[in-house]
């Protein structure tokens, strides 16, 4: 087989010689080694340990060495607290993913306006992407302050009663979600705007010639062409939402009455908050998180394979 290649391309003789082959494999091993060692140490081995730890409880001196079988998983499935946690995680995902997609889409469509200086607006609307979860949450914490916060100040101007944004069990989760939606918007606008710009003008012109206008153009031309970007974002923002931690830690500490305790916050709470060190229980939760995220990511890769043309 190599002989054929060599005959076809004489200058490739050097490139496919057997000694070269060995050197090429050697180079590949050397080049991949740094990443593979790091992945093994900080990703794959810890992943195995997460699953192993999930079968262990703490011994007398607080080390996770006591084999308890599947009891922690059974605890997760049966405890009402855990059910609340999973419900809060799901609700939080719904309250962040859908609004951030719809608002991102609206902003991206607005950025399609053909006016001078649109590039400035495009740049500015990406602003939330520069914020960390900490900086955004700290600002929203000040907004949500019951006494001096901007949000209640605004309600007062409208002669509305103040809201306990972070202190009422019903308002807390939506409040954390609002901050998260804002934080996610910059990224979503960038992705959807890039998706819209990738549609060639001729497509719109042709649709217009066929009489499509306004909403019809949006529904039958723009949105179908944007579906890949929207689906990509749906998956990515769902995963980001499931992994949310900082906004909950900074704004509510999982409260009031566990109303904002999501899966990842529960992982933190059981192992690190208030001197807790229930690493086994947290690991069982982490294993559950892993399974959920892999399920969602698999869908994304299936789609990405079809969409991105590698070679």
């Amino acid at each position: 087989m190599e002989a054929v290649e060599v005959r076809g391309a004489p200058r490739a003789i050097v490139a496919v010689g057997p000694r070269h082959r060995v050197r090429e494999v050697g180079a590949a091993i050397l080049f991949l080694a740094p990443s593979l060692v790091l992945f093994a140490l900080f990703t794959f081995w810890p992943l195995i340990r997460t699953f192993v730890l999930s079968f262990y409880g703490n011994d007398i001196i607080g080390r996770p060495t006591l084999f308890v079988g599947t009891s922690q998983y059974r605890q997760l499935l049966s405890s009402p607290t855990m059910r609340e946690t999973l419900v809060a995680t799901g609700l939080f995902a719904l309250m962040t993913v859908i609004p951030s997609l719809l608002l991102g889409l609206a902003l991206a469509l607005l950025l399609q306006a053909r006016i001078a200086g649109i590039g400035v607006f495009r740049t500015l609307l990406a602003t939330p992407f520069a914020f960390s979860v900490a900086t955004a949450s700290v600002i929203f914490a000040i907004f949500y302050n019951p006494g001096v916060g901007v949000f209640n100040g605004f309600l007062q101007l409208l002669h509305q009663p103040p809201v306990g944004w972070l202190t009422s069990p019903t308002a807390a989760l939506p409040s954390v979600a609002i901050a998260s939606v804002w934080l996610q918007l910059g990224y979503n606008v960038l992705v959807l705007s890039a998706g819209l710009q990738a549609v060639p003008d001729e497509v719109y012109e042709a649709a217009r010639l066929d009489g499509a206008r306004g909403l019809a153009l949006l529904r039958h031309v723009t949105l179908p062409l944007l579906t890949p970007s929207l689906f990509f974002l749906l998956v990515v923002t769902t995963i980001i939402s499931l992994q949310s931690f900082g906004q909950i830690h900074i704004l509510t500490r999982g409260g009031p009455a566990n109303a904002t305790t999501t899966l990842v916050y529960a992982i933190y709470y059981n192992s690190f908050a208030f001197g807790n060190s229930n690493f086994g229980l947290s690991s069982a939760m982490a294993a559950v998180l892993f399974v959920i995220v892999v399920a969602i990511t698999s869908i994304q890769f299936g789609l990405l394979e079809r969409r991105v043309f590698y070679r």
Binding site: S35, F42, F44, L47, S132, A134, F143, N145, Q243, F245
Partner: protein
Amino acid sequence: MTRALGRALTYALMVAVTFVLLFPLLYAISGSLMSAQELSRYPPALLPSRPQLSSFHDVLQAIPLARQYLNSAVVAIAVTIGQLATAALSAYAFAFLRFPLRNLAFGVFLATMMIPWEAVIIPNYLFMSSNGLINTYPALILPFLAAGFGTFLLRQFFLSFPRDLYEAALVDGCGHLRFLWTILVPLSRPALASLGIYAFLQTWNQYFWPLLVTKTSTMQTLQIGISSLRDTEAATAPNFILAGVVLALIPTLLLIYVGQRHIVRGLTSGAIRG
């Protein structure tokens, strides 16, 4: 006439929408220039009556902010350089070299993107803890030096070069490392910039991991330092917390505004690990 009116309305809408979206940033800047009393006044003041910089001075007194700034910079720069190096090497192997199990190995790299950091955070914490690395730079840096996403991004870019380039270089006796460094790296600057900006933003903005592995205020990163202010001073003096926020935002805002075209290029190349 109607066209001019339409354009004016579009501008008005754009400005209004931009104002609402940027409100948290504008509020942070404005509030950082106010006195504590003015910021806590009712009805809420939106602009400082007499802009002052004392809150920036105050926040530097409240926490070792300069040191935390340095910590964040050291960690983010080290991770960025590390990811660029490891990803360039592995992307080169996947794009140009032929070796057994190549597809399997690439699958392993892609698989790392599926694993949420939160799912492996406890064993990593226990690893750092048992090796005495808690509250050190290595704990903040080491786990993030390799990136499946970066490899994926650079491999795609490398594959866009004609294979002749690679073969010609090898025939000329150019080694793999030299070919990568002297030819590919200069040609791949846009992709490297995308990856570099991502790595920096992500690391600079990290919260969960630095919260766990830093124990003293002098080892904390900026994000942890600023949010720790919220527990103590938020109600009484939000103005200097906002000053800290504004300072923390400077590098990332610059990257977003100046490097936006690089960011957009990297956007749809794959998921970003939170």
